[in-house]
Protein backbone atom coordinates (compact mmCIF):
# COMPACT_ATOMS: atom_id res chain seq x y z
CA UNK A 1 0.00 0.00 0.00
CA UNK A 2 2.72 2.43 1.05
CA UNK A 3 4.59 1.68 -2.17
CA UNK A 4 1.71 2.52 -4.46
CA UNK A 5 0.36 5.49 -2.50
CA UNK A 6 3.30 7.07 -0.68
CA UNK A 7 1.34 10.14 0.39
CA UNK A 8 -2.28 9.08 0.90
CA UNK A 9 -3.41 12.43 2.33
CA UNK A 10 -1.85 14.39 -0.52
CA UNK A 11 -3.39 12.04 -3.08
CA UNK A 12 -6.77 12.41 -1.43
CA UNK A 13 -6.48 16.20 -1.41
CA UNK A 14 -5.51 16.27 -5.09
CA UNK A 15 -8.38 13.95 -5.97
CA UNK A 16 -10.94 16.01 -4.07
CA UNK A 17 -9.60 19.18 -5.68
CA UNK A 18 -9.82 17.70 -9.17
CA UNK A 19 -13.36 16.43 -8.66
CA UNK A 20 -14.55 19.72 -7.16
CA UNK A 21 -13.06 21.74 -10.00
CA UNK A 22 -14.39 19.60 -12.84
CA UNK A 23 -17.80 18.66 -11.50
CA UNK A 24 -18.81 15.10 -10.76
CA UNK A 25 -18.54 13.45 -14.19
CA UNK A 26 -17.37 9.81 -14.18
CA UNK A 27 -14.58 10.52 -16.67
CA UNK A 28 -13.08 13.18 -14.49
CA UNK A 29 -13.33 11.00 -11.38
CA UNK A 30 -11.13 8.41 -13.14
CA UNK A 31 -8.78 11.05 -14.51
CA UNK A 32 -8.61 12.77 -11.12
CA UNK A 33 -7.71 9.48 -9.43
CA UNK A 34 -4.93 8.89 -11.97
CA UNK A 35 -3.57 12.42 -11.48
CA UNK A 36 -3.75 12.09 -7.69
CA UNK A 37 -1.83 8.82 -7.72
CA UNK A 38 0.82 9.89 -10.23
CA UNK A 39 1.41 13.51 -9.28
CA UNK A 40 1.70 12.83 -5.57
CA UNK A 41 4.69 10.61 -6.38
CA UNK A 42 6.61 13.74 -7.36
CA UNK A 43 6.84 14.45 -3.64
CA UNK A 44 9.08 11.37 -3.31
CA UNK A 45 11.86 13.37 -4.97
CA UNK A 46 11.63 16.04 -2.29
CA UNK A 47 11.98 13.44 0.50
CA UNK A 48 9.82 15.33 3.00
CA UNK A 49 10.16 14.58 6.67
CA UNK A 50 7.44 12.05 7.55
CA UNK A 51 4.54 13.70 9.29
CA UNK A 52 2.59 12.17 12.10
CA UNK A 53 -0.93 13.48 11.94
CA UNK A 54 -3.44 12.18 14.42
CA UNK A 55 -7.07 12.46 13.45
CA UNK A 56 -8.74 13.38 16.68
CA UNK A 57 -11.43 15.72 18.02
CA UNK A 58 -8.66 18.26 18.61
CA UNK A 59 -8.69 18.99 14.85
CA UNK A 60 -12.34 20.00 14.85
CA UNK A 61 -11.86 21.97 18.03
CA UNK A 62 -8.85 23.79 16.57
CA UNK A 63 -10.70 24.63 13.33
CA UNK A 64 -13.63 25.98 15.30
CA UNK A 65 -11.38 28.08 17.58
CA UNK A 66 -9.51 29.51 14.60
CA UNK A 67 -12.74 30.37 12.81
CA UNK A 68 -14.13 32.14 15.87
CA UNK A 69 -10.85 33.98 16.48
CA UNK A 70 -10.58 35.12 12.85
CA UNK A 71 -14.08 36.59 12.98
CA UNK A 72 -13.44 38.24 16.34
CA UNK A 73 -10.10 39.76 15.38
CA UNK A 74 -11.51 40.93 12.03
CA UNK A 75 -13.94 43.04 13.99
CA UNK A 76 -11.20 44.23 16.36
CA UNK A 77 -8.84 45.26 13.54
CA UNK A 78 -11.67 46.89 11.56
CA UNK A 79 -12.44 48.97 14.64
CA UNK A 80 -8.78 50.01 14.97
CA UNK A 81 -8.64 51.09 11.32
CA UNK A 82 -11.90 53.02 11.53
CA UNK A 83 -11.50 54.80 14.85
CA UNK A 84 -7.71 54.87 15.32
CA UNK A 85 -7.70 54.70 19.13
CA UNK A 86 -5.08 56.99 20.62
CA UNK A 87 -3.65 54.67 23.25
CA UNK A 88 -3.09 51.71 20.93
CA UNK A 89 0.38 50.22 21.16
CA UNK A 90 1.73 47.74 18.62
CA UNK A 91 4.87 45.84 19.42
CA UNK A 92 6.83 42.64 19.00
CA UNK A 93 6.59 39.84 21.55
CA UNK A 94 8.72 36.77 22.07
CA UNK A 95 6.64 33.64 22.40
CA UNK A 96 8.26 30.48 23.77
CA UNK A 97 6.89 27.32 22.14
CA UNK A 98 7.41 23.64 22.74
CA UNK A 99 6.42 22.50 19.27
CA UNK A 100 9.23 20.99 17.23
CA UNK A 101 7.42 19.36 14.31
CA UNK A 102 7.86 21.59 11.24
CA UNK A 103 4.30 20.81 10.17
CA UNK A 104 2.85 21.89 13.50
CA UNK A 105 4.93 25.07 13.38
CA UNK A 106 3.76 25.75 9.83
CA UNK A 107 0.14 25.40 10.91
CA UNK A 108 0.76 27.69 13.90
CA UNK A 109 2.39 30.21 11.55
CA UNK A 110 -0.62 30.13 9.25
CA UNK A 111 -3.03 30.49 12.16
CA UNK A 112 -1.16 33.41 13.71
CA UNK A 113 -0.65 35.23 10.43
CA UNK A 114 -4.12 34.57 9.02
CA UNK A 115 -5.65 36.02 12.16
CA UNK A 116 -5.74 39.79 11.64
CA UNK A 117 -3.84 41.63 14.34
CA UNK A 118 -1.07 39.10 14.87
CA UNK A 119 1.83 38.38 12.55
CA UNK A 120 4.44 35.63 12.74
CA UNK A 121 7.83 37.19 12.04
CA UNK A 122 10.59 34.82 13.00
CA UNK A 123 11.22 31.42 14.55
CA UNK A 124 14.36 30.25 16.19
CA UNK A 125 14.52 26.45 16.36
CA UNK A 126 17.44 26.46 18.82
CA UNK A 127 15.92 28.55 21.57
CA UNK A 128 12.36 27.60 20.50
CA UNK A 129 11.16 31.16 20.47
CA UNK A 130 8.80 32.78 17.98
CA UNK A 131 8.83 36.50 17.30
CA UNK A 132 5.32 37.83 16.80
CA UNK A 133 4.10 41.30 15.95
CA UNK A 134 0.84 42.31 17.62
CA UNK A 135 -1.21 45.22 16.33
CA UNK A 136 -3.01 45.99 19.57
CA UNK A 137 -0.82 44.89 22.45
CA UNK A 138 -2.45 45.30 25.84
CA UNK A 139 -0.93 42.57 27.96
CA UNK A 140 2.07 40.65 26.66
CA UNK A 141 1.74 37.72 29.08
CA UNK A 142 -1.95 37.37 28.27
CA UNK A 143 -1.07 36.90 24.59
CA UNK A 144 1.58 34.32 25.37
CA UNK A 145 -0.68 32.23 27.59
CA UNK A 146 -3.52 32.60 25.11
CA UNK A 147 -1.54 31.19 22.21
CA UNK A 148 0.06 28.50 24.33
CA UNK A 149 -3.18 27.28 25.86
CA UNK A 150 -5.49 27.84 22.94
CA UNK A 151 -3.49 26.64 19.94
CA UNK A 152 -0.27 25.00 21.03
CA UNK A 153 -1.86 22.34 23.20
CA UNK A 154 -4.21 21.26 20.42
CA UNK A 155 -1.38 21.27 17.86
CA UNK A 156 0.65 19.07 20.20
CA UNK A 157 -2.25 16.62 20.32
CA UNK A 158 -2.50 16.52 16.54
CA UNK A 159 1.12 16.52 15.45
CA UNK A 160 3.32 15.27 18.30
Amino acid sequence: MKRFVPFPLLSLALFVMWVLLTGFSPGHVVLGAAVALLVSRVMLLLKPEPATIRFCPAMLKLSWLVLVDIIRSNIAVARIILFRPKNRRSDFIYLPVQLTSPYALAVLGIIITATPGTLWVQHDPQSKVILIHVLDLVDQDAWITLIQNRYEKLLMEIFE
Binding site: I70, V77, A78, P116, L119, W120, Q122, D124, S127
Partner: protein
Protein backbone atom coordinates in the same frame (compact mmCIF):
# COMPACT_ATOMS: atom_id res chain seq x y z
CA UNK B 1 -30.61 26.87 -15.37
CA UNK B 2 -31.99 29.99 -13.75
CA UNK B 3 -30.35 33.37 -14.21
CA UNK B 4 -29.41 35.81 -11.48
CA UNK B 5 -32.68 37.85 -11.66
CA UNK B 6 -34.60 34.63 -10.91
CA UNK B 7 -33.00 34.38 -7.49
CA UNK B 8 -35.73 34.13 -4.83
CA UNK B 9 -36.01 37.14 -2.55
CA UNK B 10 -34.68 35.45 0.61
CA UNK B 11 -31.57 34.24 -1.24
CA UNK B 12 -31.07 37.62 -2.92
CA UNK B 13 -31.11 39.36 0.46
CA UNK B 14 -28.60 36.94 2.02
CA UNK B 15 -26.30 36.99 -1.02
CA UNK B 16 -26.50 40.77 -1.31
CA UNK B 17 -25.71 41.25 2.35
CA UNK B 18 -22.76 38.84 2.28
CA UNK B 19 -21.25 40.38 -0.87
CA UNK B 20 -21.58 43.90 0.52
CA UNK B 21 -20.21 42.86 3.90
CA UNK B 22 -17.24 41.05 2.35
CA UNK B 23 -16.33 43.83 -0.03
CA UNK B 24 -16.77 46.49 2.67
CA UNK B 25 -14.39 44.56 4.90
CA UNK B 26 -11.87 44.19 2.06
CA UNK B 27 -12.14 47.92 1.35
CA UNK B 28 -11.59 48.64 5.02
CA UNK B 29 -8.44 46.52 4.90
CA UNK B 30 -7.06 48.56 2.01
CA UNK B 31 -8.00 51.81 3.77
CA UNK B 32 -6.01 50.50 6.70
CA UNK B 33 -2.93 50.38 4.46
CA UNK B 34 -3.16 54.16 4.22
CA UNK B 35 -4.31 54.97 7.73
CA UNK B 36 -1.90 52.87 9.78
CA UNK B 37 1.46 54.49 10.32
CA UNK B 38 4.27 51.93 10.43
CA UNK B 39 5.06 49.11 8.02
CA UNK B 40 4.48 46.38 10.61
CA UNK B 41 1.06 47.84 11.43
CA UNK B 42 0.16 48.01 7.76
CA UNK B 43 0.87 44.33 7.17
CA UNK B 44 -2.08 43.50 9.44
CA UNK B 45 -4.62 45.46 7.43
CA UNK B 46 -4.96 43.39 4.22
CA UNK B 47 -5.64 40.23 6.25
CA UNK B 48 -9.17 41.56 6.70
CA UNK B 49 -9.76 41.06 2.99
CA UNK B 50 -8.01 37.73 2.78
CA UNK B 51 -9.92 36.14 5.67
CA UNK B 52 -13.44 37.24 6.55
CA UNK B 53 -13.82 39.47 3.47
CA UNK B 54 -13.08 36.62 1.08
CA UNK B 55 -15.03 34.23 3.28
CA UNK B 56 -18.22 36.29 3.07
CA UNK B 57 -17.94 36.75 -0.71
CA UNK B 58 -17.27 33.03 -1.26
CA UNK B 59 -20.20 32.09 0.97
CA UNK B 60 -22.40 34.44 -1.06
CA UNK B 61 -21.18 32.79 -4.28
CA UNK B 62 -21.88 29.32 -2.89
CA UNK B 63 -25.41 30.26 -1.81
CA UNK B 64 -26.16 32.11 -5.06
CA UNK B 65 -25.12 29.32 -7.43
CA UNK B 66 -26.41 26.51 -5.23
CA UNK B 67 -29.87 28.10 -5.29
CA UNK B 68 -29.71 28.90 -9.02
CA UNK B 69 -28.63 25.42 -10.06
CA UNK B 70 -30.59 23.62 -7.30
CA UNK B 71 -27.58 21.54 -6.30
CA UNK B 72 -24.79 22.23 -3.84
CA UNK B 73 -21.90 24.17 -5.40
CA UNK B 74 -18.95 24.07 -3.05
CA UNK B 75 -15.81 24.39 -5.15
CA UNK B 76 -15.40 27.93 -3.74
CA UNK B 77 -14.03 26.16 -0.68
CA UNK B 78 -10.86 25.56 -2.71
CA UNK B 79 -10.31 29.31 -3.08
CA UNK B 80 -10.61 29.73 0.68
CA UNK B 81 -8.17 26.85 1.33
CA UNK B 82 -5.56 28.05 -1.16
CA UNK B 83 -5.85 31.66 -0.02
CA UNK B 84 -5.51 30.67 3.63
CA UNK B 85 -2.36 28.66 3.08
CA UNK B 86 -0.66 31.06 0.67
CA UNK B 87 -1.36 34.56 2.04
CA UNK B 88 0.64 34.00 5.26
CA UNK B 89 3.68 33.10 3.15
CA UNK B 90 3.58 36.51 1.45
CA UNK B 91 2.94 38.39 4.65
CA UNK B 92 5.68 36.61 6.59
CA UNK B 93 8.11 37.20 3.73
CA UNK B 94 7.27 40.93 3.63
CA UNK B 95 7.57 41.29 7.40
CA UNK B 96 10.89 39.44 7.46
CA UNK B 97 12.28 41.56 4.64
CA UNK B 98 11.29 44.72 6.51
CA UNK B 99 12.75 43.43 9.74
CA UNK B 100 16.01 42.50 8.02
CA UNK B 101 16.27 45.94 6.47
CA UNK B 102 15.48 47.74 9.72
CA UNK B 103 18.04 45.67 11.60
CA UNK B 104 20.86 46.15 9.12
CA UNK B 105 20.17 49.88 8.91
CA UNK B 106 20.05 50.02 12.69
CA UNK B 107 16.66 51.64 12.82
CA UNK B 108 15.08 51.75 16.26
CA UNK B 109 12.01 50.08 17.72
CA UNK B 110 12.62 46.66 16.20
CA UNK B 111 13.76 43.84 18.49
CA UNK B 112 17.49 43.19 18.47
CA UNK B 113 18.61 40.31 16.33
CA UNK B 114 19.56 38.11 19.27
CA UNK B 115 18.10 35.22 17.33
CA UNK B 116 20.16 35.82 14.24
CA UNK B 117 23.43 36.26 16.10
CA UNK B 118 22.83 32.92 17.69
CA UNK B 119 22.21 31.35 14.31
CA UNK B 120 25.44 32.77 12.92
CA UNK B 121 27.48 31.34 15.78
CA UNK B 122 26.22 27.83 15.17
Amino acid sequence: MMQAPDLPLWAAIIVGFLVLFGSALTLLGTIGLVRLKTFYDRVHAPTLGSTLGTGAILLASMICFSVLQSRPIIHEVLIAVFLTITTPVTLILLARAALYRDRTEGRGNVPADSMEKKQHRD
